[in-house]
């Protein structure tokens, strides 16, 4: 009985901590403006949509890996999937929760776009380094 109670409480607390952690990671990228090259590469306008996340993620995967952002991208990817399920489940019954989930998904898309921007810069630096070492 006690073990079951501990399991349920731990699971609820784990989900809460995970959501807060992902939101703290997203908060770090929220103020970052997207560059024109990212908008051009992904074909997006002034603001990113909730559905753009997968597209940004695919583009991120095309760039050379930067170990510094790998863990953050994975955590946010898991958070995005959870939000996707939540938005689907609550659309009919709880539209306010679905709207909140969609807004959060938009934050995830912005995070992925910022990560893509960083990776493009990283790739360019790598290319410049290789070109200068060949000369």
């Amino acid at each position: 009985m006690i073990a079951a109670l501990i399991y349920v409480v731990s699971f609820v607390v784990l989900v809460q901590f995970f959501v807060y952690y992902c939101r703290s990671v997203l908060a770090s990228s929220r103020k970052v403006e997207l560059s024109a090259r990212v908008r051009e590469a992904a074909g997006v306008g002034d603001s990113v949509a909730a559905d753009d996340f997968q597209r940004f993620l695919q583009l991120v995967r095309l760039c050379p890996e930067n170990s510094a952002d790998r863990a953050g991208i994975r955590a946010v990817g898991t958070y995005y999937s959870l939000l996707h399920v939540l938005a689907r489940l609550s659309r009919a019954m709880l539209p306010s929760v679905a709207a909140w989930a969609e807004k959060e998904q938009q934050g995830c898309s912005h995070f992925a776009a910022v990560a893509l921007d960083r990776r493009i810069s990283f790739s360019r630096d790598l290319f410049v380094q290789q070109a200068s070492s060949r000369l």
Binding site: V9, V13, F17, V19, Y20, Y21, S24, A68, A71
Partner: protein, 233 residues
């Protein structure tokens, strides 16, 4: 018998623990986060000792069993001191040092009493069930303490981004491990991989998250904690 996943988790834990210690020194954060650094260093050396014991006596030996679970319990108690130190950091400007220290002594006393009661109950047969019950209780206390700390941070509108991530990573670690131990207690005798992999995976998570928190977030970086509150619109 250990499989490739067990070895991978072991090696990753070992590497990231060292990385966490090095990143604290690299970012010159030892003065403020000395308890985190000491805990990670102890964890690193304990894992080294466990590996030597594993090579010498084998995975199924009693020596390895006792070393693993007792060192784990001691490290959990050491992690309580990290939590208390994080409380001190959060309440640093409120002149509550004396109360927090008194709380830490009380917590140590309660933990000792709880451990004594569990050991007394199983004194004739210190089996796997005993260590699972002890671990479950200790990690659950850690979960509750971290949850209270996080609640206090939200109330006080804590803005230090690094501290926020350190506490949240610790909360994930404690709750995941407590849940895994509770699941093991619910289904005794079942050899499910999740029981064996969850604690080392949570350990890899904690050391990796702390490494990233020290490497990527500057001490002066701030984050708006109220914006983290989950609000349905």
């Amino acid at each position: 018998m250990l499989g490739p996943v067990d070895y991978a988790l072991w090696i990753a834990g070992f590497v990231f623990e060292a990385a966490a210690v090095l990143s604290i020194f690299y970012r010159k954060a030892f003065g403020r986060y000395y308890s985190v650094c000491l805990y990670m260093a102890c964890k690193f050396f304990v894992q080294g000792a466990q590996y030597i014991c594993f090579l010498k006596f084998g995975f199924r030996s009693a020596q390895y069993f006792y070393l693993y679970y007792y060192s784990d319990s001691l490290l959990t108690i050491l992690l309580f001191f990290v939590v208390m130190h994080l409380y001190l950091l959060v309440f640093a400007e409120m002149d509550t040092d004396r109360h927090i220290r008194a709380g830490a002594v009380l917590l140590l006393f309660l933990t000792a009493a709880f451990s004594y009661l569990v050991v007394r109950r199983y004194r004739t047969h210190l089996t796997e069930h005993f260590v699972v019950e002890l671990g479950q209780g200790l990690y659950f206390v850690g979960t509750v303490l971290t949850y209270i700390l996080w609640g206090a941070m939200i109330t006080l509108r804590e803005r230090r981004a690094r501290l926020v991530q350190v506490v949240l990573a610790l909360g994930i670690y404690y709750s995941a491990t407590a849940g895994a131990y509770a699941l093991q207690d619910l289904f005794p005798g079942r050899q499910m991989p999740v029981f064996a992999w969850a604690p080392p995976a949570a350990n890899v998570w904690l050391s990796l998250a702390w490494t990233l928190a020290f490497l990527r977030i500057r001490e002066e970086a701030s984050v708006m904690v109220p914006t983290l509150a989950v609000k349905a619109q």
